[in-house]
Point group: C2
Chain length 430, copies 2
């Protein structure tokens, strides 16, 4: 752990720097696979499924038998937990629905804004050691509330050609319309171009390794939208002597177990707390099954002492953490002052893992400083806002001349003409 004492302002950007990766070599691979899937469709998907997942599949779509099988293989306990989480996610995202916004800007000029669902979306759920069924909930629940018509889920098959049953259970529960056993770059390419087996979608959501991340970025060059650019997961905790060191340590470790590149930062106005947390980390880390990963991440972690809460807040806003835990007597000060963060966790009994699973907030959040310019996934991620206007004869007479003058000043005569013709016809009739 790197302890940093009262860093000067001009060192902040260096201290808060995230490790950057060169993606140039990955990009070449991703582009090649994209080209091949675009050209050869399922044939290319089969080829790369065989190379990367080590299996040949006759059918990519998960069958209803497989879903039933998954259903019966999951414990009732896990099902109940998933249902509770789903319920809370549903409640919070339903509350985000917005009404039509309508206003008469000038007499006779009615303007309104309405939201319409994105018709076809794709969810990518990684396979591997951690089957992220929680991410299925986080994406499919709001997609359902939004009214997306086609919800396609791609996840890589394991060596026996299966997808983790909890993923299948969650997907079925949340109304995913098609589940496909396709992973990695070939899944993203498939959803970008469409193949015989994989539907083309308009927007792709979900996490993934760096190949998937680069593939999603590339997809945007072919007209597909994505939820947000991705980077390693991050947690920043601000804590003072009102915090419980063991709890803070457990939160930092829950972040650290994600990956060796996870970013873990503690900011405090109390040197005593920093020391206590450091000790607790050393104790708790030994018990973790993912100890090796957590240790690597903790090695790069930062414990930063600052003189007061204003400095702490400024530094946190400069960093823009994905997850931000506040365990401070001044929690209101931080809540009101935080501008750049993905999701905020307040108080000693609000661990980050609550938001990861079951509080109801979304866990798909901006990393890598993107909290400065991107929202986390929310209901609006699944809709588009459209505007409407209806102008009466009186309305166009009120604003027509302003349009004519502005169009003329911009040198756009036909724009002016569209108004002039209408005004003239009204005058002639009038």
């Amino acid at each position: 752990m790197n302890k940093i004492n009262n860093p000067k302002l001009d060192t902040w950007s260096e201290i808060l720097k995230r490790p950057t990766k060169t993606i140039d070599d990955i990009e070449v691979t991703v582009k090649e696979i994209f080209k091949e899937v675009q050209k050869k469709g399922d044939e290319a998907v089969a080829k790369y499924t065989s190379i990367f997942d080590g299996i040949a599949l006759e059918n990519y779509e998960v069958s209803s038998e497989e879903i039933q099988e998954a259903n019966s293989s999951i414990s009732e306990e896990l099902k109940a937990a998933i249902l509770l989480a789903k319920e809370n996610i549903y409640k919070f995202h339903s509350a985000q629905k917005t009404d039509k916004i309508s206003i008469e800007t000038t007499e006779g000029v009615n303007c309104w804004q309405e939201k319409r669902p994105i018709q076809k979306i794709g969810l990518y759920i990684p396979g591997g050691t951690a089957p992220l069924f929680s991410t299925v909930l986080m994406l499919a629940v709001p997609a359902g509330i939004a009214g997306c018509k086609e919800i396609v889920l791609c996840s890589p098959p394991d060596k026996s050609g299966k997808i983790n049953p909890a993923i299948l259970y969650a997907a079925t529960l949340c109304g995913v319309t098609k589940i496909l056993k396709v992973g990695g770059i070939q899944a993203i390419a498939g959803m970008t171009f469409g193949t015989k087996s994989i539907p083309k979608v308009y927007k792709i959501f979900g996490p993934g390794n760096q190949f998937v991340t680069v593939a999603k970025q590339l997809a945007t060059q072919f007209g597909v939208a994505i939820d947000m650019p991705a980077g390693p997961s991050e947690l920043l905790v601000v804590a003072d002597d009102t915090a419980v060191p063991a709890f803070v340590a457990s939160d930092l470790l829950s972040q650290a177990e994600h990956g060796t590149d996870s970013q873990v930062i503690l900011v405090s106005t109390s040197k005593r707390l920093i020391q206590a947390v450091e000790k607790e980390i050393q104790i708790q880390i030994e018990e973790l099954p993912r100890k090796a990963i957590a240790k690597k991440a903790i090695e790069n972690s930062k414990l930063i002492y600052v003189e007061n809460d204003q400095i702490a807040l400024d530094l946190i806003n400069e960093y823009g953490p994905e997850h931000f835990i506040i365990c401070s007597q001044y929690d209101d000060f931080y809540c009101n002052g935080i501008i750049n963060a993905g999701s905020v966790f307040i108080g000693n009994y609000t661990p980050e893992s609550a938001g990861d699973y079951a509080s109801g907030t979304n866990h798909t959040l901006p990393t890598n400083g993107y909290a400065k310019n991107y929202s986390g996934v929310n209901l609006d991620s699944f809709v588009k806002s459209m505007t409407f206007q209806k102008i009466s004869k009186e309305g166009i007479q009120k604003i027509g001349s302003a349009i004519e003058i502005m169009a003329e000043a911009e040198g756009l005569q036909a724009h002016k003409n569209a108004v002039t013709l209408r005004l003239k016809s009204l005058k002639e009739r009038g």
Copy 2:
């Protein structure tokens, strides 16, 4: 004009195909300039300003003298028109403010969503023959309502080192905090990396030629967000015999004058109307100063006859037009059924140019089929939504076990542990 009669479903995608451009050769130039600006800052900006704009500037920032000069050079008539437009844009975008959304998902588990402004934004306004001061209003007004702290505007200088006075007037009126005489790729690169003269921003908005478009796309690879990917402007009109052919023709032409690559489509259930509009276009086009451009665009335009309104609607949703005018006795049918469009104009007295300038809706809209997955610029484009959660001791006891079960099932022991520790401490105390 291409008249298409009752096209079969399987020909739609061919008929509605937009021209695609290869950007590979542009990309090389853009990447080079980015690299140079990243490395050499203002020195590179000066070099490319000299190459592309043909001028050497000592100072990129517009001075207060230049602003005063611009102010006094604009007619009172134009100022009044700009003020009217600004007022309507302000009203419509202010109405889009959303309250904090707060909900107790489980007893003791409080979740809320709040929006915070993006702190630093950049607006790009092209120079050239059409000085788009209206776009300044469309971007700077909502940025001001959102509370963005730094609003930087870049626009290329003309040969005498000036920016069009109407652009300066609109920018000052709307609270732009810094106006810079920098254009093209070097402006986008400057706002991406920051130079001595050009502040680094978090999100870049605004139109531009294909160099600017590619530059904005590249900026996203360096952590900057953009408003949306851009393409040539588009208009689709659906009209029946209740429409006035001269009005429809004037709208189609107002779109056609934008550029030779503008997309202009008329869909109708009336062959009579199609013929009448065609005639009107031929008359009106001769009067336009930008006749040459409009004629090229009209050559590629499409007049599509379909048998009924349901087919028309399906076809329009398949296309996803940027601008969509409805002049039909069934306007409600189209308003309710349209899913993919940027902005919708209803009735004979609602020309597209009203939305371009003064109705109050935003004119920065998704083109190129992006209406299927992107919103037009609106108040939310200038903010990020953040989530908060605060869980009480009772709350964590209610959802804690679900979190433990799910974390364990995902193989994330430290995530579970963060909850277990808290539950245990409550049990011990309780």
